[in-house]
Symmetry: C2
Subunit: 156 residues, 2 copies
Amino acid sequence: MAKQYMQIGEVAERTGLTQRTLRFYEEKGLLAPPSRLEGGFRLYSEDDIQRIEHIVQFKRLLGFSLADIKNMLEAEETLADIRVMNQQEPHPAAQLQRMRKAIAVIEEQESLINRKIAQLEQMRDRWRERLDRTLRRSQEALRDLEAELAASGVKA
Amino acid sequence: MAKQYMQIGEVAERTGLTQRTLRFYEEKGLLAPPSRLEGGFRLYSEDDIQRIEHIVQFKRLLGFSLADIKNMLEAEETLADIRVMNQQEPHPAAQLQRMRKAIAVIEEQESLINRKIAQLEQMRDRWRERLDRTLRRSQEALRDLEAELAASGVKA
DNA sequence: ACGGACATTACCGTTTACGTCAAGGTTATT
DNA sequence: AATAACCTTGACGTAAACGGTAATGTCCGT
């Protein structure tokens, strides 16, 4: 298993971010302040790292600003809160209420991603049509070429 | 039909970009310098506008830097060049050669988009699993709630 | 030929998302 | 207790992607 806690250097290496970026994200509120060693060294938990990798993904895939990503991460947090609350107060009626909230949050994230996918698919389809047209034209060119060769064959 | 040529103000309105941004893109080489009126006013053709809207899409969907987008647009240009050349020198063998190039370019763009889509789908699937788990848990909560109600019904 | 709307270049300013020291404190090992 | 390796908080720097304004020129309808 991975060590329980990692210092910033190791986290940086694992996530591909720099130490500065990690501190920067923390400063901007994208990362919850991690725990610290007595001397002040940051200690990241597995959960922290999960969250960091989440951010990296959001950036790479969606291309959103950090401000946007922060909002999306708040959805994450809502879910985490709900889990904790369901653990603490396991009254079925209250749980059910919170579950509905959780489901709404997740569905929103999913539909956001789906919208993006749909747009990308549309974009891809336009390229695909283009490919088809080009292929058709190159078929024609090939046909013409064969005709030309046949003609020169007759001549020879 | 749309007017043959538009001035920068109208283009800005139609594309949702600012005039400054249009000039900036031109300066950075993302847009070919449009034709000009005698006095120096920029005149954009339909083709120019197509290209601009292309850029807007790339930005919104892929979230790439302008430098990256510039590279992708060069693929576009390669294709345009190929079309012109095929018109000018319609020798089948040469055409065929260029067609192959065109196909390669298009396929590269397509696969780039496909990779992005695949990553997004993976991300969506993770949310979907999460949704499933939450739904299952809320089923349990519902079951518990019904049991509770039944019990209180018996008591009442 | 003139007034108002629209454009031009030039240049400085701003925000975002970090990079890059500097000066000093902490941890682990010997 | 000394030393290397690691960390801390500033503080300033920077590239990208524009925003905003000034000073000036152009277009066009009357």
